[in-house]
């Protein structure tokens, strides 16, 4: 049996880089021309990027931060970590990267009022989510955290799509001093949220979930694991589920209901 083209849900395509911009000293935003992917990608999904100019064997997973279905572009943000991301940062408009995607399940978009919580590069997939929620009719609130004001550049991207933006920094250089988890209880007391969406460091997601659980607000989290195939075939990326089993972050996730995996 051979899958007809129109039943395909994933593509591996050579894409042209539309732009690849330094946002912070160690954070870049890249846009690639990938119409097949832009057409069908959903918030929470990711792209497995092959960076041939790096001496890498494996692809690198990056969350979809935005798509423009008309232009056929997909936007991603990445932080410089190791050789893959450093090599990607050297690539220029017009260069080619092979993109495999869209991969993963994506967020389950609920009705009612949503709170989006992100830390670090976790904000990238949440940007696409905020846009989708806004399109559905009700803008979400955003709680975003970082170490200091230098790290906080996300507001301008989120502004069109969210209602309130609440910022925390570890050192108080911007917004409320402290962690997102310090700000959360108060926000939950003030506003009724139907769903919380979180992406960030494991420890942050765990604490957010604890607070949300207490208040009875359902919570979706987006996990990160090292991934080889990205398509559910190699079992590199599993997470323990609370029923004692294991799931694949690449295909069963990266988005899970918090109670399942935290």
């Amino acid at each position: 049996m051979v899958l007809p083209e129109n039943e395909k849900t994933r593509f591996a395509i050579d894409t042209e880089i539309v732009d690849n911009k330094k946002i912070l000293p160690d954070v870049f935003r890249i846009r690639v021309h990938a119409p097949e992917i832009a057409m069908i990608a959903r918030p929470g999904q990711f792209i497995h990027v092959r960076i041939d100019s790096a001496l890498t064997i494996l692809r690198r997973p990056l969350g979809v931060a935005d798509v423009d279905a008309k232009e056929g572009t997909v936007t991603m943000f990445y932080r410089l970590i190791g050789k893959g991301t450093h090599a990607l940062a050297l690539m220029k408009k017009g260069d080619t990267v092979n993109c495999l995607g869209p991969l993963g399940n994506g967020f389950t978009l609920g009705d009612g009022k949503s709170l989006i919580i992100g830390g670090g590069m976790g904000l990238a997939p949440l940007l696409f989510l905020s846009k989708a929620l806004a399109k559905r009719g009700e803008k979400a609130d955003l709680l975003l955290g970082g170490r200091n004001s230098d790290e906080i550049f996300w507001q301008k991207y989120f502004e069109p799509f969210v209602e309130h933006i609440h910022i925390t920094t570890d050192d108080g250089s911007m917004g409320q001093k402290g962690f997102t988890t310090d700000a959360l209880p108060d926000m939950l007391n003030k506003t009724h949220y139907d769903t919380i969406y979180v992406c960030g460091p494991d420890i942050m997601m765990r604490k957010i979930y604890e607070i949300a659980k207490e208040k009875g607000v359902p919570c979706q989290v987006s996990l990160e694991r090292r991934m080889a195939c990205g398509m559910g075939a190699c079992l590199s990326c599993v997470v323990d589920t609370n029923d004692g089993k294991r799931k694949k972050v690449c295909t069963d996730g990266p988005v899970f209901w918090a109670q399942e995996v935290l």
């Binding site: 051979v2 899958l3 395909k8 994933r10 064997i57 195939c229 990205g230």
Partner: protein, 309 residues
């Protein structure tokens, strides 16, 4: 993507009719269905599914994979849903793809290999591959794979309990792979596949801890190709049963090296992660290689390495 099958590539391997001599390696290609968007599964010689055990297994904890120069280490540790679930749920589901399903099995005892072989003696299973070389679990067979006598015992146990062809998968972590290959042939193995992963390790110099949850892991990818090719050549020269060669194959040219060294078929593992449709490119590249040389069959190059003079 429907591949035009080429008569040049059609082959038989221990009785299995194969559209091409290009298989996918256990543990790297799921149950085949994961790659249906990218691969015409029926154009493959077969899909060797993930290592299957009697009971479901959770595999190893912690980090399971890390990249290395020219390759990767994995310590998945045989996570799988168990043979019952495979037979009840997965096999019926994947039968629609019209591919040869070869089941890679692991046991903790010789008897378990027999039991598994018996349970898998069903329609829809093309052959059984005995994994006696998983370096990532203590009871996953590595003991059987590094000793000729135990390897032979496992083969006999499997052969006694199934009518399917039995393939023994050899470990490269041995002093003398030829003696194990010969013992397996004598014990009745229908084919041999090699190599499994080389045992390796990586350390995180910030935390002073092993990168992998299981401390050590199995090395695969292009970096192991020279070792794999050498072993395939040694083994193919020593046995008369067919050899399935694997280890770092990324291109049709790589595959040709393995055929010349004596492999009757090749298996593709890690390369699927880089390019999910790599097997299709290898198949058409092989066909072109033969065509360009006026050769009518893949058999015209198998074992044709010229040594000496």
């Amino acid at each position: 993507m429907a591949m035009a099958t080429s008569e040049r590539l059609r082959t038989h391997l221990c009785g299995i009719d194969m559209a091409s001599p290009v298989l996918t390696a256990s543990g790297t290609f799921g149950f085949g269905e994961e790659f249906a968007d990218f691969v015409d599964l029926s154009a493959l010689g077969g899909v060797v599914v993930k290592g299957t055990t009697l009971k479901p297994r959770r595999g190893n904890d912690g980090v399971r994979m890390t990249e290395t120069p020219g390759g990767m280490l994995n310590c998945i540790g045989l996570e799988n849903p168990g043979v019952d679930y495979f037979l009840g749920d997965i096999l019926p589901r994947i039968s629609k793809y019209g591919m040869n399903v070869i089941v890679n099995i692991s046991g903790s005892t010789t008897e378990e290999y027999g039991e598994l072989a018996n349970m898998l003696d069903v329609d829809g299973v093309a052959a059984i591959e005995l994994n006696v070389s998983c370096p990532n679990v203590k009871d996953g067979g590595i003991i059987f794979g590094t000793d000729a006598k135990s390897a032979a015992a496992v083969v006999r146990s499997a052969k006694a309990h199934t009518t399917k062809p039995v393939i023994l998968k050899l470990s490269p972590n041995v002093t003398d792979i030829v003696s194990i290959a010969k013992a397996a042939e004598e014990a009745g193995a229908d084919a041999l596949s090699l190599i499994n992963t080389l045992m390796g390790m990586a350390i995180d110099i910030r935390t002073w801890r092993p990168v992998l949850g299981n401390v050590t892991g199995g090395l695969s990818g292009p970096c192991v190709k020279p070792v794999a090719l050498r072993m395939v050549w040694q083994v193919a020269n020593a046995v008369s049963i067919p050899v399935i060669g694997m280890g770092g194959i990324e291109t049709a040219e790589d595959a040709v090296e393995f055929f010349l060294a004596g492999a009757s078929a090749v298996s593709i593992g890690t390369a699927n992660f880089r390019d999910p449709s790599v097997t299709m490119k290898i198949i058409s590249g092989l066909d072109e290689y033969l065509k360009a040389r006026g050769l009518s069959s893949i058999h015209d190059i198998i074992g044709k390495l010229k040594v000496g003079e």
